[in-house]
Symmetry: C2
Subunit: 273 residues, 2 copies
C-alpha cells in the first residue's frame, strides 16, 4: 500500500500546508468598475481579495469564473483562492463577509480540490437581463433595469430568440475588437418572458440565456437586438440574418450593463462543492 | 329646469375656473421623512406640492390618502389638488413628473369631482411587508426588506394571521400615544407567503394586509407580532390573546418602516377615475 497519496499534489511541502477555497458570491455591481482588478479602480475582485488578505496576507490571487463588466450584477459568481491558513469553510465565509462592504456577499464557501480552476470548471453559465417597458418610469431598482421608450412585443422577441439556440458562430454578437480564436458557442436555453417582478408587476421583460460560454458583450448584444425586434424596428427574421452575417454591424446595439445579472454558474462534476 | 347646476360648487365664480386633479403616485421612501409635509424636512408631499407649484403657483394644498411614515414606500398612493390652471390630466402627469426627483413618480392623473377627498374616498387599502430570512445577508433592495436573524415558520405565521381577519378592536396593535376615538377596524385579507422575489428567490416572506383603514403603526405591529411567532418565540395562540387584551404591550414590537410598502388604495364608486 505505497500508492500515491491523493493529497500529495495538494501539499507539496508539509511545512507549508495549503487550502483551496471555492466561493459563491453575490454583488450589486452599481458601485464597481466590474469584477476584474484594475489599478486605481474599485472592483469586486479587488474588494474580495482585500477581505481575504485581511485574514491571510499570504493567500494567492483570487480567480473568478466570469469577468463581469462595470455595472453588471451577480447572484452567483464563482471564485477560488489558495490559503496558507487552514480554516473551516464556514469560518472563511463569515470572516470574509465581515470584511466586505454591504453590496458584496459570500453566499457559500467550500473546500475545493487543489486543482480547482473557476474558469475551466465553469461548463455552463446563465444570465438574466431585465427590460422595463412601462411608459411610467420606475422608482425602485432603477439600476437593475433597462428602460424602453415604448412597450415591447414579447411574442416577436421570443420567436426571434429561437434562431440563436444551439451551436453557432456568434461573431455578429461580439464586440468587434475581440481577439478570441473561436467564435463558436452553444446556447442551451434562451427565454423571453413578461415578468411579475416584485415592485414592477407586469412592467418587466426578463431575457434569460444559458450557454457553455459567452463572447465579450454577447448577452448584451443579443438583448440589444431582441429589443429592436420587440420595438418593431426590425422583423423577426432579421435575427437569423444577423447571426448568418458573422459581422458585428449586422446585429443590434449593445444593451447597457446595468440590466444584466449573472444568475448561476454550473461547475463540472469534479468541481462540484 | 332651473335646478342646481351640479358644477355649481365646483366653479363658484366663472372668472376663476378650477380643476380638481386626482393622482396615483409611486415612491421609494428611503430618502424621505414620510409623506406628510413638515418644516425643515424632506417629505414626499412636500416634493409633489413643490412640483405642482412650479406649474401653478395658485394650486391649493395637496392632500394624500395615506400618511406613510419615514422610510415607508408606495406603489400606489392617492392624492389630489385643485388648480386654477386647466390642462389635460395627461399633460399634468408629464409636467409634474418633469419636476420630480427620480424616486417619486406620478403613475396616473385624472380629472376628479370637485368634492373628491382622497382620505374620505379611500375605502380599502392594501399593504405589503417584506421579510428576508436567509442566513446570508441581501445585497439588493436592502432598504426594502426587514432581515431576520433566523428562518421563519411561515405556516405558523399564516395560522396566527387568521385570528386578525374580520372586524376587531385593534387597540393592541396601535402605537399607545394615539388619540383616535374608535379602534375598531376591519381586515378583509391577511396573507403570509414565501415569495419568489426577483433577486431573492425563496429568501423572502411577504405579509399582505387589506383593510378598511389602519390605526397608527398597525401593519408594522402586526408584522412585528407575526415575526415573533415565525421565530418560535411565541405560540400561534398568542395572537388571539394579544388581540383580546386591547393593550399595546400585549402585542409584539413595531417592525421597521423600510420593509413596508403601500400597495394599493381602492376608492369608492363616486371617486373612481
Amino acid at each position: 500500500m505505497t500508492g500515491a497519496d491523493p493529497r500529495a499534489g495538494r501539499e507539496p511541502d508539509a511545512a507549508t500546508p495549503q487550502q483551496r477555497i471555492g466561493l459563491r458570491l453575490a454583488y450589486d455591481g452599481t458601485a464597481y468598475s466590474g469584477w476584474q482588478s484594475q489599478p486605481h479602480a474599485r472592483t469586486v475582485q479587488g474588494m474580495v481579495a482585500a477581505a481575504i488578505a485581511t485574514i491571510d496576507p499570504a493567500a494567492d490571487a483570487l480567480r473568478g469564473s466570469s469577468r463581469t463588466d462595470a455595472g453588471v450584477h451577480a447572484l452567483d459568481q464563482v471564485a477560488a483562492f489558495t490559503s496558507r491558513r487552514i480554516m473551516d469553510p464556514a469560518v472563511w465565509q463569515r470572516a470574509i463577509n465581515a470584511n466586505l462592504p454591504k453590496d458584496i456577499v459570500v453566499l457559500k464557501a467550500w473546500e475545493a480540490a487543489a486543482s480547482f480552476d473557476p474558469v475551466e470548471a465553469a461548463i455552463r453559465k446563465r444570465y438574466r437581463y431585465r427590460l422595463y417597458d412601462n411608459p411610467v418610469r420606475p422608482v425602485f431598482g432603477r439600476m437593475q433595469v433597462w428602460r424602453q421608450p415604448s412597450p415591447l412585443d414579447v411574442a416577436a422577441m421570443r420567436q426571434a430568440a429561437g434562431a440563436l439556440v444551439g451551436e453557432h458562430d456568434f461573431t455578429s454578437f461580439e464586440t468587434a475588437s475581440s481577439q478570441r480564436r473561436t467564435k463558436v458557442r452553444t446556447i442551451y436555453d434562451l427565454t423571453v418572458e413578461r415578468a411579475d417582478a416584485t415592485e414592477h408587476p407586469g412592467a418587466e421583460i426578463h431575457v434569460e440565456v444559458e450557454g457553455n460560454g459567452f463572447l465579450y458583450n454577447m448577452v448584451r448584444i443579443i438583448v440589444g437586438s431582441l429589443a429592436m425586434i420587440g420595438a418593431g424596428r426590425r422583423p423577426v427574421e432579421w435575427m437569423t440574418e444577423a447571426l448568418a452575417a458573422r459581422h458585428r454591424p449586422a446585429a443590434g446595439p449593445t444593451a447597457p450593463a446595468h440590466g444584466l445579472i449573472l444568475l448561476s454558474i454550473h461547475l463540472d462534476d469534479a468541481s462540484v462543492e
